[in-house]
């Protein structure tokens, strides 16, 4: 079965379906509903036998590269630290098909936002290359 990475972003991607404020400015009950939904997604994937892993990332990013011999690594926050694409976390799922991956991603994207209305968040779906030939 193919594996897919469903990436959530802090920012970047296509133009948002609609603007919404950061979560700490939502009504407390909307925050609860959102977090409960995300817990439910993980549980559902586990029950389906489709869950491989899920991790959240902190929003702090450092770009780093080799500094050359005897030099410290070179770091920067990036050319446009306030606007560039920033991954917030991912689900890794193991599913029957590409269609199923899109279905799961769309379900994640329906997560409730302010007023309990779906966020319609863009989810970045990437297939993970397998380690061995499929007919091995």
């Amino acid at each position: 079965m193919p594996k897919y990475l469903l990436l959530k972003h802090y920012r970047g991607g296509p133009a948002p379906h609609h603007p919404f404020p950061p979560m700490d400015q939502w009504a407390p009950e909307d925050v609860e509903a959102h977090m409960a939904f995300l817990r439910h997604v993980s549980e559902l994937l586990e029950e389906n036998g489709e869950f491989v892993g899920a991790h959240a990332l902190t929003p702090t990013r450092t770009w780093v590269r080799y500094g050359g011999p005897d030099a410290a690594p070179v770091t920067t926050e990036g050319p446009h630290p306030e606007t560039s694409d920033l991954v917030a976390g991912w689900y890794m799922i193991d599913v029957e098909s590409y269609q199923r991956a899109l279905q799961v991603a769309a379900y994640v994207s329906s997560e409730p936002g302010p007023g309990g209305k779906p966020l319609y968040e863009w989810i970045d779906v990437r297939e993970v290359m397998s380690e061995a030939p499929a007919d091995a």
Binding site: Q25, V31, M35, A36, R39, A56, T58
Partner: protein
């Protein structure tokens, strides 16, 4: 693996034998690395064989099987190199007590020049008797990664004389690391740390060892109340105190008192005293913050430059100052830490708490949101986002409670 019924009845007893058997092998002159590997093999063999064929003397069985493994390993290696027996410790006369074995092995695993992650892994395997798989699970890394970490750590120990006096401060720190890691993982590391600390207190009279055990017990007593059914963090002032383990608290207090009686207070005894005062309050309003502040004064006084050497203590003290002298005083204390902790989530979380204490909910919401952005733990991040949303909602409903931030 965890719900396999055949391994449950004997596991505790089996694991308690590990330090005794291993210490005996090492004292006999075996290489620590090889002996530890051989014993790990023997343990896995025991888990397989014992359910069907329980041994009459489990300790002798383990020693025999481990020795056989050592002999096999040595035969296959003999052609390559001669043993470096002389490098290793001579058996110490008359050291046959279980407590001595534990201390001896803890000193082996917690040598100062090993990285903390390696000290922890080695301690859990060689003294705790956990399998590599269990340790890997506890720290959410692949088994092969943990196996590599352990074997690299043991290679570092090779050639070191293992009979040198150990550094108890390092042992205490390693056990506390095991304990604090234990709240997150799947294996009960907190329980394991308590078990090891208990063994340690049998081996040494050092009051700080008892202080550490007391601190663990007094914090562990609140574990059932720290998360709700959905896994959400419940902060201390909102916990259902009926869920606290009164027996564990009583034991922690008793051990702490016996440690303090030695009149040689150190950081673990002081932190345990603070935990005991929290545990002692029937409700959060009845918390004796004045006494807690007095203990924090002692804790901070242990360092020459507390802001740099022990900022966590200064931050904890700031909370106590806020409760005793008012939120403005507490916030002023946190200002001293801005340079050192200003980018850490806990600094912002404490400021949020102090603003909330002073009724400035708008400032509290901002500080909690700042803290959430810096959190490195999902449960904590979620808790801080919730706190921010809650504070903001209340400040929007009753703006008269919300004054501009004092700073």
């Amino acid at each position: 693996m965890i719900d396999d019924p055949t391994r449950l009845p004997d596991e505790g007893a089996l694991r308690a034998l590990v330090p005794r058997v291993l210490a005996a092998l090492v004292r006999r002159g075996e290489d620590f690395d090889a002996a530890e590997d051989a014993l790990q093999d023997a343990l896995l063999e025991a888990l397989r064989v014992w359910p069907e064929h329980p041994p009459r003397d489990p300790r002798a069985w383990l020693a025999t099987v481990a020795t056989r493994r050592l002999v096999d390993a040595r035969r296959s290696e003999a052609a390559r190199r001669r043993r470096e027996e002389a490098t290793y410790a001579e058996p110490r006369p008359g050291a046959a007590e279980a407590g001595d074995d534990t201390l001896f092995l803890l000193f082996c695993c917690c040598v100062p020049h090993l990285a903390p992650a390696s000290q922890v892994a080695l301690t859990l395997r060689a003294v705790g008797g956990l399998t590599t798989r269990e340790i890997a699970d506890a720290f959410y890394v692949p088994e092969a990664t943990m196996a590599q970490r352990i074997s690299r750590a043991k290679r570092t120990l090779q050639g070191r004389r293992l009979d040198q006096p150990g550094d108890l401060a390092v042992v205490l720190r390693v056990l506390y690391l095991v304990y604090t890691a234990g709240h997150a993982g799947r294996v009960d590391l907190a329980g394991e740390a308590i078990r090891l600390a208990r063994q340690l207190t049998l081996a040494t009279d050092e009051p700080e060892a008892r202080g550490l055990l007391a601190l663990m017990l007094l914090n562990h007593a609140r574990l059932a109340a720290r998360f709700d059914a959905e896994g959400r963090i419940v902060p201390l002032d909102r916990q259902d105190r009926d869920l606290w383990d009164t027996r564990e608290i009583a034991e922690g207090v008793r051990i702490l008192q016996s440690a303090l009686a030695a009149q040689c207070p150190g950081r673990y005894q002081i932190e345990a005293a603070i935990a005991a005062l929290h545990d002692d309050a029937a409700s959060s309003d009845e918390t004796d913050w004045a006494q807690i502040l007095a203990w924090y004064d002692d804790l901070v006084a242990l360092s020459d430059d507390p802001v740099r050497q022990d900022p966590a203590a200064v931050l904890g003290r700031a909370v106590a100052v806020g409760h005793v002298l008012g939120s403005a005083g507490g916030l002023r204390e946190t200002d001293r830490l801005r340079q050192v902790l200003g980018e850490r989530h806990r600094w912002h979380a404490v400021r949020g708490h102090l603003h909330e204490l002073g009724g400035d909910l708008a400032a509290a919401a901002t500080a909690y949101a700042e803290a959430a952005r810096r959190a490195t733990d999902v449960a904590e991040r979620d808790h801080l986002v919730r706190s921010a949303a809650r504070a903001r909602a209340v400040s929007a409903r009753c703006p008269e409670r919300s004054e501009p931030s004092a700073r």
